[in-house]
């Protein structure tokens, strides 16, 4: 029994049975889908109305990117799976998103740090994919790159305000960095190469301005790209998918 759990990847997990090109699209789609769902949890709960709207808008951008990538992945795969099948019909072990994006929102500072680390990653990712020979992917990336710039302005601006703000705000921002930093090594595990030094240069420049710093602790946790997630993803998917699970194919 236990041997099967350890070695036997269930059918259709990120490692098995899906063409690499499709799996890569799904990984990026999953990043955006899961983060959209997380950010959506802020609706009606953000510190101010403008922040509520901003977080909702950023969530919509990520959702739109996820939809386009799922649709494209389904078309390339050619087995008739559409965006809804891919977002609502895959299990936790089949999701290949980064561990970073599935982490709970925490306080506003926590959400901002998670967003910043991911925005800087996505700016570099989309820069690369905008030159993809896959024209639809290149188009999606070109558009998403501009959106990531807006997201980055928001997350970096707020981290500076928090880090350089009151003792309370500074402390919370630093706590968030200390807690989320262990999920950053995974950003550079693929499926596409993202320049780590370039990423660090931008992130550290914002940290410097905000008066916060990365922890010295080298411990890093990875596995999301291979479908090994933290305990948080299962709950998120349960909430996101329950209606399609209970009433498959339902629409309103």
């Amino acid at each position: 029994m236990s041997e099967q759990i350890v070695t036997g990847a269930p059918q259709g997990t990120p490692e098995s049975g899906v063409a690499p090109e499709v799996a890569a699209l799904l990984a990026h789609a999953d990043d955006n889908m899961v983060l959209a769902q997380r950010l959506g949890e802020w609706i009606s709960n953000a510190p101010e109305l403008e922040l509520d709207i901003a977080l909702g808008n950023i969530a919509l951008d990520h959702l739109g990117v996820a939809r386009a990538l799922y649709t494209l992945a389904g078309e390339i795969e050619g087995e008739g799976r559409d965006e809804d099948d891919l977002a609502m019909g895959r299990t936790e072990r089949q999701f290949a998103n980064l561990l970073l994006v599935e982490q709970p929102n925490g306080d506003f500072g926590h959400t901002i740090v998670r967003q910043l680390l991911f925005d800087v990653y996505q700016r570099l990712l989309w820069d690369g994919l905008a030159a993809s020979p896959q024209r639809s992917l290149a188009g999606i990336a070109e558009r998403a790159r501009k959106e990531a710039e807006y997201h980055f302005r928001f997350s970096s601006g707020w981290l500076v305000r928090l880090g350089d703000g009151t003792e309370e705000a500074h402390g919370r921002a630093q706590d968030a960095i200390d807690s989320l930093w262990r999920f950053t090594a995974e950003l550079f595990e693929g499926p596409e190469p993202v320049d780590r030094r370039e990423w660090e240069r931008t992130v550290f420049a914002v940290f410097d301005e905000a008066g916060v710093s990365a922890p010295e602790d080298p411990y890093q946790r990875t596995g999301g790209r291979r479908g090994f997630h933290t305990e948080h993803l299962g709950y998120l998917l349960a909430e996101m998918q329950w209606m399609q699970r209970a009433y498959p194919g339902m629409e309103w």
Partner: protein
């Protein structure tokens, strides 16, 4: 006037559900309308990833064609090349300003659509829709939307 021109005009006049003064042709998202053996293929390009109006626009195009008695059609979404605000027509820019939305420009070049002051202040880069930022005029004090350059 040919049938093709009629069909194109019909599709081009579908309006954006969130900014109803603009047609999809004004916005520059209508890429092509092709007629082939009485079958119509409409190709549109999405604006912002987060624009929830895209699905509505697809439905509205379909409804407009059906109202004209056309049942053989397909609405395609093309992601390449990516849409930019440069594709908004001059007519579209004019309509936006008339409607009270500052047209796309660099953020430091935005002019208040009500009193033409050139010193508005950015309140939030994320406004009432994915495409708009919320600004407030420092002269007349009115808040207004700015269509983000993209």
């Amino acid at each position: 006037m040919s049938v093709a021109t009629d069909v194109r005009g019909l599709v081009a006049s579908v309006v954006d559900p969130e900014i109803p003064v603009l047609t999809i042709a004004d916005l520059g998202i209508l890429r092509s309308v092709e007629l082939d053996d009485d079958r119509v293929t409409v190709t549109i390009t999405p604006t912002y990833s987060g624009c929830p109006a895209m699905r509505q626009i697809e439905d509205d195009v379909a409804a407009a064609l059906r109202r004209a008695g056309i049942d053989e059609f397909e609405v395609r979404v093309s992601h390449h090349p990516a849409w930019t605000t440069d594709w908004i027509t001059e007519e579209g820019i004019r309509k936006l300003a008339e409607f009270g939305i500052a047209p796309p420009s660099r953020i430091d070049e935005v002019v208040c659509p009500r009193c033409a002051s050139d010193r508005p202040r950015l309140v939030s880069a994320f406004g009432s829709t994915a495409c708009k930022a919320l600004m407030v005029c420092s002269r007349c004090g009115e808040p207004f939307d700015h269509f983000k350059r993209f």
